[in-house]
Amino acid sequence: MRLGEIARVVRSKNAGPFLLTFDVLFADLATFERMRAGGRLTRATVAAAYNVSPNEILEFDWHPFACAVKFSLRRPIPSGAPQDTDVYGAQQHVPLMELEVG
């Protein structure tokens, strides 16, 4: 199964003009814990999905209070600068949504 079929929310957004932040929200703690234990949603797998090295994935963390996983990525081009493609950073979530998580 892909992450988009399991999670309730998969989104990307600017966290300031220099970072993109990604949120994955699950419907309940059971799904959250299953995903955390599953080992298919990790710093390494999201790095591979975005074709970056794992050390470029910032603050990858599981947050039980929101049944959420979160990480950030430095923007290839700062928001709104020449060559940027997505000023709000809100359409960068699809490789995460399509990630195979079992």
Partner: protein, 458 residues
């Protein structure tokens, strides 16, 4: 105040983006319930560097006027002060002046007089040069240290002020505080902090309220959001008759637009949600307690600056021929070589930058796009940014004509390669800016650099 708050409870109505609108019924219900503060966020870095760089306001004037007029009417009904942060989008002086002018029109229409405290947050360049020399400017999320050249290159630099300068203004009991760039939390938290409510709770409530109704369900358009703050916790609710706040919607919003949802750094310290507890007290309301605040050893404000990056000229076209789509990378590379040859001796390299976005291939994600298979048609956005509008126009026009007639391998459609929807195909798109200052400034006094000016506005 007509509608006295019950002892121990402080009611805050928040509008997350001035000019985005909200249902009149939501405001009416909030007024009926009683309000002690109307907190309004009017800006963000989200729409990009253009607004800070140019000084142009973000948002349609008619909509900003509409929202502001309704909120001033709510003030007339309740007596609640209004605190507006990040005027005009970026919070620079031209945007503060612009919003003040809109406010004057609102007050003229309503025939009322208000005491307005204006807190500007545009920074004096000489102060920043001195701070840089003194080692008081820290590297932040750009990953690069600030230079004197960056300070000089910026069209405008603002500081994102904390609650302290707003608290100083509120001490004079203005009806309205209108701020330059401000931490969105400060609009909500300044007054309750001044009244003695704990910073951890006030700041966390500010974080939840800053985007207005986005933390209530169903999310359908922009709306208002209410917070009831007490000494030991706060309750979040929607003033909309059919919207609810759930633990999930509030917790989800806590993640939004920040890298770490548990430790939220701001001017002067960090909001710590490690021990925050969220409780559904009824089907529509969430109570939160346990949010803490840790002052930082040194007070800092975030600096934001934008420089002029050039002038833009664009052309939009589409390609339908699979023979061309299949070799678009090669065609673009060859075209760029020819373009450079054509411009040689006329336009210096380094004075222009050509970006060709290929929608249907990697136009949205650029370098981050993992899918390499193009769609059956490609949208092309030819984007030239150059030192002058004339160079941008030349580069755009040349790239457009080269692509239109490029004789790629295997071509049988020899009349033209690109469908342009417009005549003229090329469009001047104005100046382009880039954030070039995004650093932290250490301040010995969080108030002194941002004095308020009290105006009688009628």
């Amino acid at each position: 105040m007509k509608d006295q708050a019950p002892p121990g409870e402080f009611r805050i109505l928040s509008h997350g983006m001035l000019g985005y609108g909200f249902p009149a019924a939501s405001l009416a219900r909030a007024v009926e319930a009683g309000i002690d503060l109307i907190a309004v966020d009017a800006g963000s870095t989200d729409p990009g560097p253009y607004y800070l760089g140019s000084g142009a306001p973000f948002g349609a004037r008619a909509m900003v006027l509409r929202d502001l007029q309704m909120l001033v009417e709510a003030q007339e009904a309740t007596g609640a002060p209004i605190v507006i942060g990040s005027a005009g989008g970026a919070g620079g002086n031209p945007q503060v002046d612009w919003l003040l002018e809109v406010l004057r029109e609102v007050l003229r229409r309503l025939g009322v007089r208000k005491r307005v405290a204006v807190v500007r947050s545009e920074m004096d360049r000489s102060l920043l040069h001195a701070a840089l020399d003194a080692g008081h400017i820290r590297t932040f999320e750009t990953g690069a240290a600030l230079t004197h050249a960056d300070i000089d290159a910026a069209c405008r630099i603002v500081a994102q002020i904390g609650p302290e300068p707003i608290i100083a203004a509120l001490a004079e009991r203005p009806d309205i505080v209108l701020c330059g760039r401000a931490w969105d939390v400060a609009n909500v938290a300044a007054l309750p902090v001044a009244l003695g409510f704990p910073r951890g709770l006030a700041f966390h409530l500010g974080k939840i309220l800053e985007c207005g109704g986005q933390a209530a369900l169903p999310v359908e358009g922009s709306d208002l959001l209410m917070g009831r703050l007490a000494a030991d916790g706060f309750v979040v609710e929607s003033p909309h008759a059919r919207k609810i706040c759930t633990v999930e919607s509030i917790a989800a919003h806590t993640l939004y637009e920040k890298t770490n949802p548990v430790n939220l750094p701001g001017p002067g310290g960090t909001v710590d949600l490690t021990r925050a507890r969220f409780e559904q007290i009824d089907p529509a309301r969430v109570r939160v307690e346990g949010s803490a605040y840790h002052p930082a050893p040194v007070y800092t404000v975030k600096l934001e600056g934008a420089r002029l990056a050039g002038h833009r000229h664009i052309a939009i076209g589409g390609i339908r021929d699979p023979r061309m789509i299949g070799q678009i990378d090669r065609i673009e590379a060859d075209m760029r070589d020819r373009l450079a040859q054509n411009l040689e001796g006329r336009i210096a390299p380094g004075t222009w930058l050509l970006t060709i976005r290929r929608y249907g291939l990697d136009g949205v994600m650029g370098a981050l796009e993992p899918v390499k298979t193009p769609a059956h048609e490609l949208g092309l956005l030819i984007d030239a940014v150059a030192d002058t509008p004339e160079i941008a126009e030349t580069v755009c026009a040349m790239a457009r004509s080269l692509l239109l007639h490029w004789g790629y391998a295997g071509r049988i459609a020899t009349a033209g390669n690109v469908a342009f929807p417009f005549s003229p195909a090329d469009i001047p798109a104005g100046p382009v800016y880039a954030f070039n200052v995004y650093h932290l400034l250490e301040l010995a006094d969080p108030v002194a650099p941002f004095p308020f000016e009290m105006l009688e506005v009628a």
